[in-house]
């Protein structure tokens, strides 16, 4: 049943898959993010309590949800790497870590910029905020641990263990608003049967959520390809590919120059 998946453990197939997916991910990200952001900023109705400051929700909630989602994806990759000894699994784990860290940073930053006008403080040591900050440290820990080893297979294992242990933090972040008395408000859209948000406000939020997901996918495909090239530098297929791609970009640059000179 899982046979179709096995060829992708090979780096060359994984690289090709990334190349195929990449344009769709970029197109999806650009389309969804522009629609969702414009809709959210200009067309969604005002919040009756928070006025226009609530529009930060259109980047805060997607980045926060996906900072956790990316972490889970990273931990699954680490688990696959450990169980089936796939090198590509560790490569995708480390490809996802920086973009996950950026998402966590965005969630924290937009949260602070939303907290200042609404709560009166940029930062409070609230359960939700603190556990999200720990998530950022977990991402940075995984990246640092991976970078500390010369042998990248060993690095993948060590960072993978850390990524797996850190999964404990995910339910803590999610339920922090219920378990503790927090300043942060409760869940808004994860209650699918009865979302506590008006549909005309919800739609741009869902579109932006999709856009952020596409963006994470797109960056991951680029970074996974980077990781593959780095690790397989001495393979013949990588060497021919590098020559071809560099020649292509040089040709393009030369063509552009001719165009500008012609004009």
């Amino acid at each position: 049943m899982w046979k179709w998946l096995h060829p992708y453990a090979k780096t060359e197939r994984a690289y090709q898959l990334c190349l195929t997916l990449q344009p769709w991910f970029w197109a999806g990200a650009l389309l969804c993010l522009s629609i969702g952001t414009v809709w959210g900023l200009a067309f969604a109705p005002q919040d009756y309590q928070q006025g226009d400051s609530f529009r930060i929700i259109y980047i805060h909630v997607p980045s926060a949800i996906l900072s956790m989602g990316t972490y889970v994806a990273m931990a699954i990759a680490a688990l696959v790497g450990m169980v089936w000894q796939w090198r590509t699994a560790y490569m995708s784990m480390i490809a996802m870590a920086p973009i996950g860290a950026v998402m966590t940073f965005i969630a924290l930053f937009t949260g602070a910029a939303w907290g200042k006008p609404m709560w009166g403080a940029w930062w409070v040591w609230d359960a939700r905020l603190t556990s999200e900050l720990i998530l950022l440290f977990l991402y940075m820990g995984v990246i640092a641990l991976y970078g500390a080893f010369e042998d990248k297979q060993q690095a993948g294992k060590a960072a993978g263990v850390m990524a797996l242990v850190g999964v404990v933090n995910i339910p803590i972040i999610h339920y922090s608003v219920e378990w503790w008395n927090t300043l942060h408000q409760g869940a808004t859209i994860s209650k699918f049967d009865n979302p506590s948000i008006a549909p005309e406000m919800l739609w741009p939020l869902l579109i932006n959520l999709l856009g952020f997901a596409f963006f994470i996918g797109a960056v991951t495909t680029v970074r996974l390809r980077n990781e593959i090239v780095l690790r397989e530098m001495h393979r013949p297929w990588v060497q021919t590919l590098a020559k071809q791609q560099l020649a292509n970009t040089q040709q393009k640059r030369a063509a552009n120059q001719n165009m500008t000179e012609g004009n």
């Binding site: 200009a42 400051s53 980045s63 963006f215 680029v222 970074r223 060497q239 590098a242 791609q245 560099l246």
Partner: protein, 69 residues
């Protein structure tokens, strides 16, 4: 459109600083990570080619040395 004028849109009901700061930092951060990934890709490809040429050079030098001795 929820706003009466472009100026009102920019003003964001008095929350202009916080809203535009959030959106600005978000898209700048996303841009940086995306561009950094692409630049790294180009540099890696160059590194592969340079490494390959270096190896070829070493091989040639070794052959010449063997021929001369």
């Amino acid at each position: 459109m929820q706003f009466d004028s472009f100026a009102a849109f920019i003003n964001m009901g008095g929350y202009a600083f916080y809203v535009w700061l959030s959106f600005g930092v978000t898209f700048v951060a996303m841009g940086i990570i995306a561009i950094q990934s692409f630049i790294k890709h180009q540099n890696l490809l160059k590194q592969v080619v340079v490494e390959q040429e270096r190896k070829a050079r070493i091989k040639r030098a070794r052959k010449q040395q063997q021929a001369s001795t």
